[in-house]
Every structure is written in structure tokens, then in C-alpha cells.
């Protein structure tokens, strides 16, 4: 986990701060974005090792951002965890259809989120049933 970069996109400053603190304490390097527009603009830059993405963002939702991410060649293989208060089955299906690798509903357990992050960093984003290593 040394030096692995996680991008957190959440418009609630307290949740973003909480995730930043906890993940940095776990040894990750964390980048925070608080708007969907910033997240879309970020797709022009170097991809992180993993993204934690809120769904309910103002102006552009997490599902739309995720679809754009999967269409961006350099970001296609980045594992994405959706972190959201929308826990209905339809929302989870929509999240997986959009290309999410995992779906965590708020309220959530921090240790469980960290375990999911560690698992995805080991296995990478799955495409067509095969595990693909994220870009170095």
C-alpha cells in the first residue's frame, strides 16, 4: 500500500476529511475533490490507483462520472468504489452497470471500506471476468 494513490470525490467536507485522515493513516496518499466538475476535469490527468466516488454530487452525479471514467483510456482500468447513501437495490444495480467495482452504502464501517480498498488494489478492475492490473 506504500505510496498508492486514492482519489476521493465527495461533496460533504466532513466525510471527505474523515476518509482522507483514515486512509492516510493506513498509508495511502489521498487526493480530495469535492465537485463532479472537478472530477471530470481530473480525468485529463494521471489516474490514481483507486477512486472512492460519491453518487449524489451536485450538477453531475457519480454514475455519469463513472461512465466517463470508463470511457477514458488511461482511467479505464482504475478500480472504483461507489460510496453513497442510496442503498436501494436499483441504485446498486445501476452502479455496477455504470462500471463500479464495489458499492458501499452509508452509514459504513471504516475498517470494512479499507478492506475493500485493499482487495481491489490487489485484484484491480475486472473487465470481462478477468482481473486486470491497474497501471503502474
Amino acid at each position: 500500500m506504500d505510496g498508492q494513490r486514492i482519489l476521493v470525490v465527495d461533496d460533504e467536507p466532513d466525510i471527505a476529511r474523515l476518509l482522507e485522515f483514515y486512509l492516510e493513516a493506513e498509508g495511502y496518499s489521498v487526493e480530495l475533490l469535492t465537485t463532479g466538475a472537478d472530477a471530470v476535469a481530473r480525468l485529463d490527468g494521471d489516474p490514481p490507483n483507486l477512486v472512492v466516488l460519491d453518487v449524489m454530487l451536485p450538477h453531475i452525479d457519480g454514475f455519469s462520472i463513472l461512465r466517463r471514467l470508463r470511457e477514458t483510456p488511461s482511467w479505464y482500468r482504475v478500480p472504483v468504489i461507489l460510496l453513497t447513501a442510496k442503498g436501494a437495490e436499483d441504485d446498486q444495480v445501476a452502479g455496477f452497470d455504470a462500471g463500479a467495482d464495489d458499492y458501499v452504502v452509508k452509514p459504513f464501517q471504516l475498517d470494512s471500506l479499507v478492506a475493500r480498498i485493499q482487495r481491489l488494489l490487489r485484484t484491480g478492475h475486472r473487465s470481462g471476468g478477468e482481473a486486470i492490473e491497474p497501471p503502474a
Binding site: E12, L18, F21, Y22, A25, K106, Q109, L110
Partner: protein, 355 residues
Amino acid sequence: MIELADESLIVRLAIVVGLGALAFTVVFLLGAFASRGVVTRRTRRRNHVEQTWAPYILSGLREDPGPPPRLRRRDAPTVIAQWLRLSTPLQGAGADRLQHLARRSGLNAAAQRVLERGRVQEQLVSAVFLGRQRDLRSVKALVDLTDDRQLVVRAEAARALVSIDPAAGVRLTAPLLARWSDCHPALAVAVLDRAPAQLAATAVAAEATNAQDPAVQARLMEVLAAFPSAPAAAAARTLLETRSDPELVSRCLSVLRELRDPADSALVRRYVHHSTPFVRVQAVTALGRLQVPGDEWCLYAALSDRDWWVRHRAAEGLTAWRRLPAATLAFMRAVHPDPYGRDALEQAASEGPGR
């Protein structure tokens, strides 16, 4: 001379008015700057307090962060609100650690003081916090708040009591919800939502059955529709046998609709020809959900009702009827004697699942 005197009077008047306007403007601007200064100082103070406490709270997620920062009385609402924002998205070990840390830091005691003496907004945040903390020592203060003249404060205090001890909280809250005529049923449901559904339904059903005022009973039955259960059904059936108030009857029918017990079909059918349209609407909607064989013809007849909503609900019920063959439905659409009934079926068929 008279003209000169008039002119000097006008000039003096103009000077007085001008000076008055100038003075008013100066006072107004000074007041605006002063209040802006107060707001700015408050915002800076709040930011400073949050920045002081944030590392302490966040460190507490992983380990013992040591002694807490000093908590001044006037800063307690800020810290409590911050604590809630950070802990609400969490559950499990992280949430438990923060709960324990809040107690140790004196926040529970501070929240109780705010509950007793704070402004409305501060009282609300403290009530939510104490409910989340499940602090038994705050029960008395919360019970006192259920007498507050503001509904939002009463409701939040009641909700916190239900969080702290669901069984005792529901027993205490259900009679209050019956008394609070200004409490919308949706708010009542929110007050009870932290309690097990069966517990809430039993308590509310008892209140509904024992109340004398049909308006109170109707309101409580609307709450019970959110807790479909045996106690809710029993209350609905009892009230349908003993009461005739149309609003109450329609609420009881909506409870039976949610429960979908085929045994209620005969009871519901009695209301398909009620004189009040919204009662007939609830009756045909309930029959459409119960789907007892034979009742589809009751809905077919209701397609001739003089009220549009009754016809529409009857048509929806027929379109969604699981054991009704498509050919039978098509036959109904073709031969129903009432053109409005045929229209209703046509519309429901075009809106519903493909038949």
C-alpha cells in the same frame, strides 16, 4: 417680510430633513458594519473551534487521542454539530469509538446543558446527539422537551427518546403523538422509525383504538399504514366495525390495502358503494391489491362509477390482476357498457405492465 420668513422656514426644514437622513444613513451603516463584524467573529470562532477539535475526533477513530481540547460552554453547540457530522456516516467500530470518546470528553453533559438552555437550533442538534449517544442521563431533559411549544423540538426530543430506549420511548411517545394535533403523520412515522416496527405498531394501534376523536384516530391510522402488521390490521378492522367517519374509514382501508390479507376482502367490499368518493377509491384500490378471485368483477362494475379516480383505480387493479387472462381483460375493454369505463381500462392498460 412674510415671504422672507417663509423662505427661511423652508430652508431650515430642508436642512433638518437632510441632516436627519444623513444621521439615519450613518446609524444604519454603522449597524450593518457592526452586525457584519459580529457574524464574521462568530464564523471565525466556529472555524477555529472546528479546526481545534477535528484532529482530536479523527484521531479517536484509531486510538486513544489523549485529553480533549478545552470545551467552553459557548462552543459546545459547534463541537456537538461537528461530532454529529463526522459520526453520522459511520457505523460499527468507528462509530462506537466516537460514541465512547464523546462521553469521555464531556460532550454528553455539555449537550444536556444546551438542551436545557440553548436556542431552538442548538436544542435540536443536542437532542439528535443525545439520541445517538443513547445517554440515559438525558432522558429527563428530553421528556421535559416533549412539552415544548415548538413541534419540531417536541418531535426531535421524542425521536431521541425512542433511540435511547425503543420500548420505553415508544410507550411514552405514542400517547404524545395522539395528543399532538399539529403533528403530521409523516413526522410521527419519522419519530418512531428507530423502534422495531411491531413495537411501534402495537403502541399506535392501541392509541388509535382507544381515542375518542375520529380525527385523531384517522391521523393515527395514517401512521399505522407505514407499519403494516397484525396490530395495525386488528385496529383497522375494529374501527371499521365501530366507526363510520369517512376520513377514518378511508385510512383504515389503506392499512388493509398495505397488508394484503385476502380475508379482508368481504370487509373492504362493503365500501365499494360508499357515498364518499375517496372511500370508494380506497376500497377499489384495496380490492386491486388483495386480488381475491371473484373481486375482479367488483372492479369491473366500479368502472361505471361517477368519480374519475374510482374508475381509474378500478382499471389499474384489473390491469395488474395476476390471474386475469389477457383475453378476459381485452373482452372487458371491448364490452363494458360505460364509455368512460372503457377509456379508463384503455388508459390503465397503456400505463401498466404490458398486457
